[in-house]
């Protein structure tokens, strides 16, 4: 008797536990879609936190236009301080208490890696991680759609330009000693190999380092004529400055993460002039109709002291494919349907490069890597952006 009662109670408890999952999609009601994102608002990587705030303004704009097939987006953003442990705790908490239908963006390779398995096991879609890491697509995951062109690709594009168009003979790299930096090293090496060359120096930097002199000395010793900066904006500026103090003047090139020229020019007191960076989206001052619409939304919804910069805008860009996918699902939305619709996106054009996905194939990483295009710009006087190449498709 006693065991029967216990079994009954247990069965009931189990039923209650699974009831919401069985009943409807997690994070979805008739009037709301819950979408989450993390982003560092404090700590060393905080300048990149603008991405998560940008997405918020984008969703405000979508909601103001009537939402997605009658549902409003409810946006949950939290500060993980670029600390993977905090990312994991925050994601779990939101996922298991509020219930999140899908995740979008999310700055950083290491924070993203900390939650990738968790989200994939629960079959929660995640679109547009705000980091160009190879990890998102090797192997590809059914529910993970990458947008950000790989750092790997960016490095290839820069090296190609340096060797082909600028006749550089000795390429070196200074890189953040984590996945972000190492992806850059890998890409640069692969492209140099094509030209029968190799990196003349590979110098790692820790994110908390406050003195880069030995690093720059190592670069100078290699007599590089082109140096790739795969580091945070602060370290990029310190490298360029220290090199100037040492009278070491190679061509500096950097990633999209340091392509916010207004900011970079200001904090470097003008030393950033002449640096070449990769870009993955339309420039903030472009006059395309879509950009003007976003700018209106920025004026209307953004906080008073927010800046219309590259990272903020990227927050729009990473969320665009997700919104396009959700829109095309119609009223009866499910996660499986969203995935199916995302797979149909072909040459989708927002403010980033063209985004294309393909039906899921474990052996084809590109089925989940949306964008393959970047273009190069050079920093001009007062942080002016000078385009020096068209869109380059690189695989």
């Amino acid at each position: 008797m006693k065991t029967k009662a216990l079994a009954l109670v247990l069965a009931l408890a189990a039923l209650m536990l699974f009831a919401p999952v069985l009943g409807a999609e997690e994070g979805l009601t008739d009037t709301e879609i819950h979408i989450g994102q993390w982003g560092p608002q404090t700590g060393p990587a905080a300048p990149w936190g603008a991405v998560a705030r940008g997405t918020g303004v984008y969703f405000d704009m979508i909601n103001a236009k009537g939402g997605i097939n009658g549902r409003k987006i409810v946006y949950h953003m939290f500060d993980d301080a670029y600390n993977p442990a905090k990312t994991k705790a925050g994601v779990k908490e939101l996922q298991e208490s509020v219930g999140i239908f899908a995740w979008v963006g999310g700055v950083g390779t290491a924070p993203g890696l900390a939650v990738e398995d968790y989200l994939m096991e629960r079959k929660v879609p995640w679109v547009g991680p705000a980091a160009g890491s190879m990890h998102w697509i090797t192997p590809p995951q059914k529910y993970l759609f990458a947008v950000y062109p790989l750092y790997f690709i960016e490095a290839k594009a820069l090296v190609r330009y340096a060797v082909r168009h600028m006749q550089k003979k000795k390429v070196a790299i200074i890189y953040q000693n984590d996945d972000y930096g190492k992806n850059g090293v890998e890409g640069a090496k692969e492209q140099l190999k094509v030209f029968g060359m190799d990196l003349v120096a590979e110098v790692p930097v820790e994110i908390t380092d406050s003195d880069l002199k030995p690093h720059v000395m190592q670069l100078r010793r290699s007599e590089a004529d082109c140096v790739l900066l795969w580091v945070s904006p602060k370290h990029a500026v310190m490298t360029v400055g220290t090199a100037k103090a040492m009278q070491f003047a190679p061509q500096f090139m950097s990633t999209s993460t340091c392509s916010d020229y207004t900011l970079m020019y200001k904090i470097s007191n003008g030393l950033w002039e002449g640096v070449i960076c990769t870009n993955f989206g339309e420039l903030p001052d472009s006059g395309s109709p879509l950009m003007l619409e976003y700018k209106e939304a920025f004026k209307k919804f953004a906080a008073k002291d927010e800046r219309w910069g590259t990272f903020f805008l990227a927050g729009f860009g990473f969320a665009e494919p997700l919104v396009a996918g959700l829109m095309s699902c119609g009223k009866d939305l499910t996660r499986e349907k969203l995935v199916a619709q995302m797979e149909k996106l072909k040459n989708f054009q927002g403010i980033m490069g063209k985004v294309t996905y393909k039906p899921f194939d474990v052996n084809d990483p590109n089925c989940r890597q949306g964008q393959h295009e970047v273009f190069l710009t050079q920093c001009g006087k007062d942080g002016a952006v000078i385009p020096i190449s068209g869109w380059m498709e690189i695989r």
Partner: protein, 291 residues
């Protein structure tokens, strides 16, 4: 050889900022045996306030910097008066925990008020102009920092060595109760120490700020300053400064010749080594505590 000399110079250049932080930490430790973990963030607040009056209110530089020093002195005294003095339990451990708490509060305040975008302090010296002798270079800002560190060390050292106040400080450290019985205003000594220490930290912060200003900019100098102070025995001002230059030089030579990847952990290795081998530091004149 040239590279080696340059590494030495780099180490000394880097050591100056550590020296200032080390001095600031040592001052407080000397009187109260409290390691002030909020040291870096106290400087941070002063630096960002300076930025505020310079950049937002357009105050001229020659007013803003002295004002910053006064502000930091008051901030230090306020920390002692409003926070530490109110603590119910005056053990060293609880004091240290309070300073860790204050560190987080101040860091949060700066992150919230000023945001995370990197900034640079408008400063008459650009941080990357350098003196070049032969092939050896040192930036003008580093030279200035070096002089500030040595000057403050000399000033604080002679003040504490030759003034009655310095004697009072020593008495407070060794036995607060007896010091009070001897007519020393213990609380006032502590108040002043906190002010002076905050000011020293602020000088360090101001000299770092032309390179980059971010909420976490003081972490690294603070930790290095701490290892410098440990190396110098925690109670000796010249010890902290010497320790700082040693840390700077060892770090740079290690980075250049052994492994650049592990350069940033050298300072911590030094702390561990010193605590294991000679816990009283290189400049030991530490009294042995009778339990």
């Amino acid at each position: 050889m040239l590279d080696f000399i340059q590494s030495l110079v780099n180490g000394i250049a880097a050591g100056s900022a550590y020296a200032l932080m080390g001095l600031a930490l040592t001052l407080i430790y000397k009187t109260s045996e409290v390691v002030n973990f909020a040291q870096g963030e106290m400087a941070l607040v002063s630096v960002f306030m300076t930025y505020l009056v310079l950049d937002t209110y357009g105050f001229p530089f020659y007013l803003a910097f002295p004002a910053a020093l006064v502000f930091s002195f008051l901030l230090g005294m306020a920390m002692e008066f409003f926070v530490l003095r109110r603590a119910k339990n005056h053990t060293v451990l609880s004091m240290i925990i309070i300073t860790i708490g204050m560190e987080m509060i101040l860091l949060g305040f700066v992150s919230w008020k000023f945001g995370a975008d990197p900034k640079t302090m408008p400063f008459p010296l650009t941080p990357y102009d350098a003196f070049i002798v032969g092939n050896i270079f040192i930036t003008k800002l580093e030279t200035l920092t070096l002089f500030c560190a040595l000057f403050l060390m000399a000033a604080l050292f002679s003040f504490l060595r030759f003034s009655r106040f310095g004697l009072a400080m020593k008495a407070v450290q060794q036995n607060p109760t007896v010091a009070r019985l001897m007519g020393i205003r213990v609380k006032r000594v502590l108040l002043f120490t906190w002010g002076a220490s905050s000011l020293t930290g602020c000088v360090a912060g101001l000299l770092i700020s032309p390179i980059v200003m971010q909420p976490y900019m003081m972490w690294d100098p603070m930790l290095k300053g701490f290892s410098a102070a440990v190396l110098g025995g925690m109670t000796s001002l010249p010890g902290a400064v010497t320790g700082a230059y040693l840390v700077g030089v060892i770090e740079n030579i290690f980075g250049s010749y052994v492994s650049i990847e592990f350069k940033s952990v050298v300072a911590f290795a030094i702390i561990v080594l010193v605590l294991c081998i000679k816990p009283s530091g290189l400049f030991a004149r530490h009294h042995v505590k009778k339990v």
